[in-house]
Symmetry: C2
C-alpha cells in the first residue's frame, strides 16, 4: 500500500526517523536504564521495537496501558507512574505473573495498593511540579508505612515535568539538578534500588536517575522540537486538502485540510505545517495559508504540537518509508 | 450500578438535563427543521433520543459518523456537512438504501461525489468563517455544474461558526443576519428546498435556515455556557481525587484528580470545576485549588471547555440520575 492511498486524517510514522530516535536514546540509556513511557505512543507494536533496543521495562500512565502491555507480552517490569485508588485490575495482572509496580504518595494509595494485590511500589516525590508526589521530607515515613503494609518499596520516582520543554538548555540542566537533589534526598530516606524520573527534555542532562522515563523522543512533536532536544520528527498527521480559497479583496488566499482538532492534541496550541502558516483548527479542519499554491486533493503533513494527546485520538498509526506503508499498528493502549 | 462505582475518568450525562435540552431545542425547531449535529456527541444511542424528539435527519462531520448512523438505523436523511474527496464509502451506503447528502464547494468535490456514487448534494457557501464553502457569488455556477454531473442539488448550507460563542447576544444576532443574507443570496442562485446552517449559539436567532444544524445543546460545555445560550450542562467528566497537597510555605494547598488533558478537549482552554480554581492539566491529571477541603478518593465533576473533542476521547458515556447509572452508551462514532 502507498501512503497516498490512506484515508485521512492518518497518523504516519517515518520508519527511519523512528529507528534513529530509538537507537539514539537506547545508546544514551542502555538496557534497563531506559524505562520508555508508553503514554507518548500508546502502541504495543512500537513498545516491542523499544524492547528490541534493549529496554526490558516500561513506564505507564494508566491501568489500561499496563493491561495492554501485559497482553502484548511486555509485562516483565511495568511501572504505573501514577496514583490509583482502585488497583484490583493491577492485582489481577500480578496474579497472572506480570511484574507491576505502582506509585504511592499517601496513606490512601498505600492502602489501595495493598488491598488490590499489588506488591511493589515506588514512593512518588514532588520535585517541583505541583501534581502528584509527596513532600520530599515525607517520603521516608511513607516508605515505612508501605513496608508495614507488607509492600516492597523499590525506591523513589520524581518527575521534573515542568522543566521538560524549557528552551534554555543551561537553565533546564541547572533546574534539573536542583529537582534531582530533592529526589536523591528522599531516596536516602526511602531506600531501594530505583530512582526513576526524567523525560525526553531532560534525558541528556539527568545523570542522577537510575532509570529514565522518556517517551516523546520516539515520535516527537513541535513543542519538544522547539526546545531543541535533538530527536527527529517521526510522526505526522497526514491530511488531504479539501477546499482552497483564492485571495479575494483584502482576504488572503487559504486552504483547508482534513486534520482538525479532533485529530490533534491542542493543549500546546496549534499544529504546524512546515513552510505554511496555520490560522486555526476546527473539529475536522485546519485552515492555513500555504507556502506554495495547493490544489484540492493534495496531501499535507501536519506536525502536532503535543504528541501524547494526538496519538490518543487515533485508532492506528502507519509506519512508512518514502511513500510505502510498511506496517499498520493499532494504537491499542487508549482509554482507561 | 452507582456512579460511585464507575472507573474514572468517565463521561457522565445527567439524564434530566439531557432530556430538558433535547425537549427545548425540539420545541424551538420541531420535526425536520432540526437536523442535530452528531459530531458533538458521537453516540448513536443519544441520536436515537433526538430522533424520538422528532428529528428525522442528522448532520455528520465525518464519513465514519455517516456509516455509524446508518448501522444504527438512523440513515433516513444524513447530511455530511463537510467536503470529502473519496466518497466511495458514502456511495456504498446509498447503494444500501441510506439517504446521504454531501457538501460540495468546488469542481473537485462535485466530481468526487459523482465518482463515489453519492446522488444528492448541498452547495456549501462561505458566510464568513474562513473554512470550507465557496464564495456566495460562485454558488449558482457550482449548482449548475453539479446538476450537469447528474447530481440532485437539494439547496445550500453555510455555517456561521465564528459567531456561535460571541458573548454579546445582540451582536451575535446582528452578525448572524448578515451571514444568512449571504446564504440566502446564494440560495436564490442555487435553488432547492434546503437552507441548512446554524448552531447552538445562533439557534435562537437564526430564523432564515430551513434546518438547524445544532449539536452542542444536548450535552453543553463551559464555552457555550459562558456565551449564555440557555441550555443546561448535561455532561461532566467524573474524576477521582488521587493526591492532595496541603499548603506548604508560600505554596497554597491543591488537589489532583484523574481527569487530564487526554480526557478533555483542550482547544478552548482548561476545564472548570465549579467552585474550585483549576491550575493546569497534564496528560492524566488536573491540578486544582479546591473550594472546600477534599480527600484522596473523593469524586469530582469536571466541566469540559469544549464538548465535541472531549467526547471523541472516550469509549462510552454513562447516563445517570442522582447517583444511579441508568444506561451506558458506547461513543460509537469516533474515528474517521
Amino acid at each position: 500500500m502507498r501512503s497516498a492511498d490512506l484515508q485521512t486524517p492518518a497518523l504516519v510514522v517515518d520508519a527511519d526517523a523512528l529507528e534513529a530516535n530509538l537507537a539514539a536514546m537506547a545508546t544514551r540509556w542502555p538496557g534497563a536504564t531506559l524505562r520508555p513511557h508508553v503514554k507518548a505512543h500508546k502502541t504495543t507494536a512500537l513498545a516491542h521495537r523499544q524492547a528490541a533496543h534493549g529496554s526490558p521495562g516500561f513506564t505507564c500512565a494508566t491501568i489500561r496501558e499496563v493491561e495492554g502491555m501485559v497482553v502484548a507480552g511486555l509485562g516483565t517490569d511495568l511501572l504505573l507512574a501514577n496514583e490509583v485508588l482502585d488497583t484490583r485490575r493491577l492485582g489481577a495482572l500480578v496474579e497472572r505473573g506480570a511484574r507491576v509496580t505502582v506509585a504511592v504518595d499517601s496513606p490512601e494509595t498505600i492502602q489501595a495498593a495493598t488491598t488490590g494485590g499489588v506488591r511493589e511500589v515506588l514512593v512518588d516525590v514532588n520535585v517541583g511540579l505541583p501534581r502528584c508526589g509527596c513532600a520530599p521530607s515525607d517520603a521516608g515515613a511513607l516508605a515505612d508505612a508501605a513496608r508495614a503494609h507488607g509492600l516492597t518499596v523499590r525506591g523513589v520516582m520524581g518527575y521534573e515535568g515542568h522543566l521538560q520543554a524549557l528552551p534554555d538548555t543551561a537553565e533546564r540542566a541547572r533546574l534539573t539538578e536542583a529537582c534531582m537533589a530533592l529526589l536523591l534526598a528522599a531516596h536516602a530516606d526511602v531506600g531501594g534500588e530505583v530512582v526513576s524520573g526524567g523525560g525526553t527534555g531532560t534525558s541528556a542532562m539527568n545523570p542522577w536517575v537510575t532509570e529514565m522515563q522518556a517517551g516523546s523522543y520516539a515520535l516527537m512533536d513541535s513543542a519538544y522540537a522547539a526546545a531543541g532536544v535533538g530527536y527527529a520528527q517521526a510522526l505526522h498527521v497526514l491530511g488531504t486538502v479539501v477546499s482552497v480559497a483564492p485571495p479575494r479583496g483584502e482576504m488572503p488566499g487559504y486552504a483547508v485540510a482534513d486534520v482538525g482538532l479532533k485529530a490533534l492534541g491542542m493543549d500546546h496550541g496549534n499544529p504546524t505545517i512546515p513552510g505554511s502558516q496555520v490560522w486555526f483548527c476546527s473539529d475536522e479542519h485546519v485552515t492555513f495559508a500555504p507556502a506554495e499554491p495547493v490544489r484540492v486533493g493534495d496531501r499535507v503533513l501536519v506536525v502536532p504540537a503535543h504528541i501524547d494527546p494526538t496519538v490518543a485520538l487515533h485508532e492506528r498509526m502507519h509506519l512508512v518509508r518514502d511513500d510505502e506503508v510498511l506496517e499498520t499498528w493499532p494504537v491499542d493502549l487508549r482509554g482507561w
